[in-house]
């Protein structure tokens, strides 16, 4: 059973805070739930499906449903694939709604890494019981150097340059200048990026996303409920999810799981890359965007560097406007998990409610993609394609 046309996004909320020193983690989840339900014109008593991931404290849905006082939940899902979880949740919520397991699904993400660091709380430690732990952690892998090795290999095989990667950040910064909540609002140049300090060769500081607190939420409903609401509804057209890993030692860092999640989403939606007017692409690092665009088929493998150059990702300038909220590179990467905000900006674009300076004209079909975990080892990739009522 496919999900095309079986579920709608009717409510979204992005928490405006970027540092949550005076808020607890469950409180952020509740504020986000309240905001998303208000946007939809629904109440917490309407919610009969709840979705959250590893950022939710305790046993996830159990603790959060209790904390928020969601009294009518009959379907729960705590699928955890890192930062892409919330795009997986959109897929799973659409499946659950299509199967009749729930009619009003709420998805929340919240995080406070900035506040946690200021309060001296220890950095969340990778699970020592993971089978790969002792074969990797002693070598000092961190988020940056594990993505950096992908960039290094991509450069080696395809001649991709730091200047080409920099264009991705430049495009994000052009969009972020119009977002009053964006963590970084200054427009930067290719020179600014390549002259920023080297963090892990070949990635510079400005190739890396921001670290922020906050989060976001999504309300999804059945077609019947959607028609009863006043809010502009956004149709889920198709979705795909896929794991990618080190394949027992046959390591290839030049592609992501988007190679598999993308085609499934396009097939279910019945559209091609040519139909996508706007794309939210997970941007933990510039290289994440470049490999993903290739894997989704927006350009050939190896030609991502050329594709992203010269402003091709800037709204109103290039052929594929991306991350018009400023993305994780400039706006928000709440809880080190960027999948939620990818969906939110895609919804704004289809609604026609993005900032006027970055709104894509006639944005009938949009795509959102997430990469959870590490591009340099194992990841959960997720793609969703959204459209307006006529799509």
């Amino acid at each position: 059973m496919g999900i095309n046309g079986k579920a709608y996004i009717v409510g979204i909320y992005e928490h405006p805070c970027r540092a949550a020193l005076d808020k607890t983690l469950p409180q952020l989840h509740a504020e986000i739930a309240k905001g998303a339900l208000a946007d939809a014109g629904l109440s917490k008593e309407d919610v009969d499906g709840y979705f959250c991931a590893g950022d939710a404290p305790g046993l996830g849905p159990i603790n959060m449903i209790e904390y928020m006082g969601l009294n009518n939940v009959r379907h729960m899902d705590s699928t955890e694939t890192g930062g892409s979880s919330y795009i997986v949740h959109v897929n799973h919520a659409a499946q659950a709604i299509a199967a009749g397991h729930c009619n009003v699904a709420l998805i929340t993400l919240a995080g406070r890494p900035v506040a946690d660091a200021k309060e001296g709380k220890p950095v969340r430690y990778y699970n020592q019981q993971a089978p790969d732990f002792s074969f990797e952690m002693p070598y000092g892998p961190n988020v940056t150097n594990m993505y950096a090795m992908c960039a290094m290999r991509h450069m080696h095989e395809y001649g991709t340059t730091s200047e080409q990667l920099a264009w991705i950040k430049v495009a994000a910064s052009h969009h972020a200048q119009y977002n009053e909540h964006a963590r970084l609002r200054d427009v930067v140049t290719v020179e600014d990026v390549v002259n920023s300090p080297m963090i892990a060769d070949p990635l510079h500081r400005l190739d890396c996303c921001v670290i922020t607190d906050g989060g976001g939420g999504i309300v999804m409903v059945s077609p019947e409920v959607a028609k009863s609401l006043k809010r502009t509804r956004v149709k889920v057209l198709g979705a795909g999810e896929a794991p990618k890993h080190l394949a027992a030692g046959q390591v290839d860092l030049t592609y992501s799981g988007a190679r598999w999640s993308g085609p499934k989403a396009f097939s279910e939606a019945g559209v091609t890359t040519a139909d996508i007017k706007y794309a939210s692409i997970y941007d933990s690092f510039t290289i994440t965007v470049l490999e993903t665009l290739e894997d989704l088929g927006f350009c050939k493998k190896g030609e991502g560097g050329k594709f992203v150059s010269d402003g091709n990702l800037i709204s109103g300038v290039g052929k594929l406007p991306f991350n018009t909220d400023g993305g994780g590179l400039c706006n928000n990467h709440p809880g080190n998990r960027g999948g939620m905000t990818k969906v939110l900006e895609a919804v704004r674009q289809v609604r026609g409610e993005a900032h006027p300076k970055v709104q894509v004209r006639n944005c009938d079909i949009a795509l959102a993609h997430g990469t959870g975990g590490l591009l340099g080892s194992r990841m959960g990739s997720a793609t969703v394609i959204l459209g307006n009522e006529d799509a």
């Binding site: 732990f133 074969f135 002693p138 070598y139 000092g140 594990m146 090795m149 027992a248 030692g249 860092l253």
Partner: protein, 130 residues
């Protein structure tokens, strides 16, 4: 930036991985191969992740390989080099490149295993220029 530092990690040595770490302590790089499909895999598992056979065993690798990719973590003090090295036996492993001039390290460079102390009498396979 403390998160960029290479922290000392205590190895988790369990029944599945103990021979690997005992081998490393004796200066041997062991990889797991499958007698059913004839292929090596990494990291070592009891059940072959390629064909699901339980007929797997550790064998000593040559210790030779080439750098598949690498990165220098510049903010760490001292900076260190993380890499994937593809062994002559065909599998790639995450590791460090040590005792080399950092700015001359390159993809395709031939490297040879050596072992660094990892606590509790164990040793960690790392690589240096061959």
């Amino acid at each position: 930036m403390s998160t960029d530092q290479k922290n000392k990690i205590n190895l988790v040595v369990n029944s599945e991985s103990k021979p690997y770490w005992e081998g490393a302590a004796k200066g041997q790089l062991l990889i797991r191969t499958c007698n059913a499909c004839g292929k090596a895999h990494y990291y070592p598992r009891t059940i072959c992740p390629l064909c699901f056979s339980e007929d797997t065993a550790f064998v000593e690798a040559s210790g030779n390989g080439v750098i598949y990719s690498y990165s220098v973590t510049r903010q760490a003090k001292p900076p260190y080099v993380i890499a994937y090295v593809t062994l002559d036996e065909g599998v790639s492993m995450l590791t460090n490149i040590v005792d080399c001039e950092i700015d001359k390290i390159h993809i395709g460079q031939k490297v040879r295993v050596k072992f660094s102390e990892a606590g509790d009498g164990y040793a960690l396979p790392v690589f240096t220029s061959a």
